[in-house]
């Protein structure tokens, strides 16, 4: 019998719809696997019993018409889920149970997907290795000479869980690369939609002008299906965009003939490993061989993207995280007066990286420094946007590597925040410009680690992005090489 957990999301649903398996069997297969995978530490909270009873209900009702019917889905622990603990992987929210459901997850359950748990991540999505979580490291299912590797971050739990077949697909959030970088490190597909494509309502905020929810899946079609479900205007989010109902999956095409692909010279950074440069060339060749037109382009302000990002994101975070004050919900450490209670709560409730970013953010917004940092960063952000606007006069998509290196070992960058921040060097521009971008696994390096390419699309043109990624996927025929070493 087929191992149901090896199926893609699209295949799972087909199985259920065609009654090749029941929803209970499908969920059961995942539950079994999840129960044997604690070592990976992907889950902050599991909801397996409820998942099974929901599956039974679907089987009893015998209505299999919904888009995600029976699909077991775990989501990043940043999405508020009604009556199920939502922690943002932080101590400060370690006991928080929302009374409400985020718009994005609500859309999943409305299509009869089944929640199986909440996935580990960096604390408040701040990190590139999942090492800042209050609930411990997540292990990458891929290893280097039997040594554990980080899954990337911040959606590390999402990435490992998808790669290790612990969820049929998932939704993560991407503020500077938090979907794409871990997707690249674990050999899965990660899509950050255009800013405003998916509602942010009910997602624990990190940096409001950059945060965007998006799918992390086993392949491109799954990403298209997930995006069809989770996207859409939400009157509860003033920054969400009014766009007609999408049909990404049904419109997907394996055709890049005449597609103009930009290759930005600024992404060829110093000390980029040869394997990553070779990967990039391979990607270019594949597209060219299939009829795409390759163009060298320039995005001149790219070098300012990382510093710009590390001003804007902490600035917004410093304000967004002010509500975690021990007064109304979450963790509280008492003090002799209000100020001391704040200090104790926030000192003990937040981890080091979160505190670092709150301090950076507070600094760049403070009077006397605002103009030099925050205001200037906003101006540079506009220049970065204009770089893309100019580039898109000549090209339809832009091709780059997703990350400068494959997955690395634990502790490699933990003492050097700047080195850690460099992980986001290719991904932050999409967030700053609000553009959609997708990370696609291409091949394995000589050590057996996944390598991935990234495609940027035009604003609200996820379709072209998905089509291009789908075409490449058909050519490279990337297959999971996860060995169940942890079981």
């Amino acid at each position: 019998m087929t191992d149901l957990t090896k199926l893609t999301l699209v295949e799972c649903i087909k199985h259920v719809k065609e009654k090749k398996c029941s929803a209970t069997e499908l969920v059961g297969a995942y539950v079994k696997r999840i129960e044997k995978s604690d070592k990976l530490n992907c889950f902050n909270t599991k909801d397996l019993e409820n998942a099974l009873s929901k599956a039974k209900k679907i089987d009893t009702n015998k209505k299999f018409d919904k888009a995600l019917v029976g699909a077991p889905i775990a989501v990043k622990d940043l999405f508020c889920t009604k009556n199920l603990k939502t922690t943002a992987s932080s101590k400060i929210l370690s006991n928080f149970i929302p009374t409400y459901e985020s718009t994005v997850t609500e859309k999943l359950w409305n299509e009869d997907a089944i929640l199986i748990g909440k996935l580990n991540s960096d604390e408040f999505a701040m990190g590139s290795s999942n090492e800042t979580s209050n609930f411990g490291n997540v292990l990458n299912p891929y290893r280097l000479n039997n040594e554990n590797l980080v899954p990337g971050g911040s959606s590390g739990g999402c990435a490992s869980a998808t790669a290790a077949d612990l969820t049929s697909a998932t939704v993560g959030t991407d503020t500077g690369g938090s979907i794409r970088q871990p997707a690249a490190f674990t050999g899965i597909v990660g899509l950050k939609p255009t800013y405003g494509r998916c509602s942010r309502w009910g997602i624990v905020a990190f940096a409001s002008s950059l945060d965007q929810a998006g799918p992390m899946t086993k392949d491109v079609k799954d990403a298209a299906l997930m995006l069809d479900v989770i996207s859409g205007y939400d009157e509860k989010d003033s920054t969400s965009a009014k766009k007609p109902k999408s049909a990404f999956l049904n419109s997907i095409k394996n055709n890049v003939k005449g597609l103009k692909v930009g290759v930005p010279k600024e992404y060829r950074v110093d000390n980029m490993p040869k394997e990553v440069d070779d990967l990039w060339q391979e990607g270019i060749k594949i597209l060219k061989d299939n009829g795409a037109i390759i163009k060298d382009i320039s995005l001149p302000h790219t070098k300012y993207a990382l510093p710009t990002y590390y001003i804007i994101a902490p600035a917004e975070a410093s304000s967004n995280l002010a509500r975690y004050d021990g007064v109304r919900y979450g963790f509280r450490a008492e003090g002799k007066d209000l100020t001391e209670m704040y200090e104790n709560t926030r000192s003990k409730g937040f981890g080091t990286e979160v505190k670092r970013r709150i301090m950076i953010g507070t600094y760049v917004l403070s009077s006397g420094y605002y103009d030099a940092y925050y205001l200037k960063a906003q101006k540079v952000r506009n220049l970065i946007k204009m770089d893309f606007d100019n580039a898109y006069k000549d090209v339809d998509v832009i091709l780059t590597p997703t990350t400068p290196t494959p997955a690395f070992k634990f502790g490699k960058n933990t003492d050097d925040p700047i080195a850690m921040y460099l992980n986001d060097i290719f991904t932050v521009t999409a967030n700053l410009a609000g553009l959609p971008a997708i990370s696609l696994p291409i091949k394995y390096n000589k050590d057996g680690l996944p390598l991935a390419l990234q495609l940027f699309g035009k604003s609200f043109d996820e379709q072209t992005l998905l089509n291009t990624a789908y075409s490449i996927e058909q050519q490279v025929n990337f297959k999971s090489q996860v060995k169940d070493w942890w079981m």
């Binding site: 997602i203 917004e316 507070t362």
Partner: protein
Amino acid sequence: MSDKEFNYYISGETGKWEVVIGLEVHAQVSSNAKLFSSSSTQFGSEPNSQVSLIDAAMPGMLPVINKFCVEQAVRTGLGLKAKINLLSVFDRKNYFYADLPQGYQISQFKHPIVGEGEVVLDMSYGTKKIGIERLHLEQDAGKSLHDQDPIKTFIDLNRSGVALMEIVSKPDLRSPEEVAEYIKKLRSIMRYLGTCDGNMEEGSLRADVNVSVRKIGSKDFGTRCEIKNVNSIKFMQQAIQYEAKRQVELLEEGKKIDQETRLFDTKKNETRQMRSKEDAHDYRYFPDPDLPPLKFDQSFVDEIKKKLPELPDDKKERLIKDYKLSNYEAGVLISDKDTSDYFEDVAKNSDVKLAINWVIGDLFAALNKIGKSIKETPISSKNLSKLIQLIKNNTISGRIAKDIFELMVNDHRDPKVIVEEKGLVQESNVGELEKIIEKVLKDNSDKVAEYKSGKDKLFGFFVGSVIKESKGKANPALVNDILKKKLS
């Protein structure tokens, strides 16, 4: 118009000082829902009964602007003859406090919804224009309750997120009296517009008062102190008086004024330091990334403009013109929209002169006595105009009218009904009156003799006695005529 000169100066040892005052008025927007959430704004509800997930700043909650509050701000801006900004920006004002759930207040810092405007004051020494610097929208915070428990502080978030308009005046005010007039005028304008109920007891209107002093003739502003959150006109005036005097004393001693935030202690009637400039918060303002800039078209403003009601200044002019009222009378009436509306209702159907006297005189006194506003008046405008008609057509005398008025205050009834029921119709039958007069003259024959021997003053006594004898019903004019004849 000026019958008096402006003369509010602080006399110090070194000469006279001028007081310079600017106000930041916080006016609660009249709206059923909050600025960024749909929670109710009903005053006096159970603590924390009007708190949405957004107001409590639960994780992942996002603000959505309430369009009605935007309209109210624009309406108020138009009422202040101010520039309406078609693009404005919401900023976050960051600070920690237990009753500020988000850890920031959403306000408008650099780009307010309303720009410069003006308010015209009618002072005894003439009219005075007070400049408006700006009006912006912002959220109110919740309330900390320190008196519910010996150790704990309780938080009530019902107010959290309620829409406020902060109306910032230019430093154009020069005396506590002008401040009082300014607040009254501003409140009156907003009540006419229906944009703020102006209820200071409920906290719908409060102000931060900026005070500085300078020598008469000086063009430079002195260092100012800001007195926070004063919630009555009386307290504002007292605070200014105290603060101006304090500053003059310091300056005359050769000391400097520190720019600082002060509190007014209503019990001790003094201001004292709340925080110095060094302790001032760094609010780290930045545009709220959850809210796109607020943009609307001129047509949106024009639509609101079309539906704008008549404003106090225009109404006053019209009342003077249409009803030939004095400046004072019109001023008294327009200070409250309901009062002037009431007056017009009465005057339209009766007599202007009588109407103004009854409204400003007897009605105001009666309302004052029973502690009710004109909105809650026991005497409807319809009934008061009926009463005036009864006087006008000689059905009742002015004296009887006063008695009927008293009855109307108590039982809200139609004066005609009372007159008929109590048989209070004025006696104008000459024969009947002569009978009464003859009786009075007969009973007071000694006084008649005195009168005839030259004591003219007694005429009033005879009139009074006749009216009394008639139980107030005698038509006084007729009584006069007949008496004169009889006594000649």
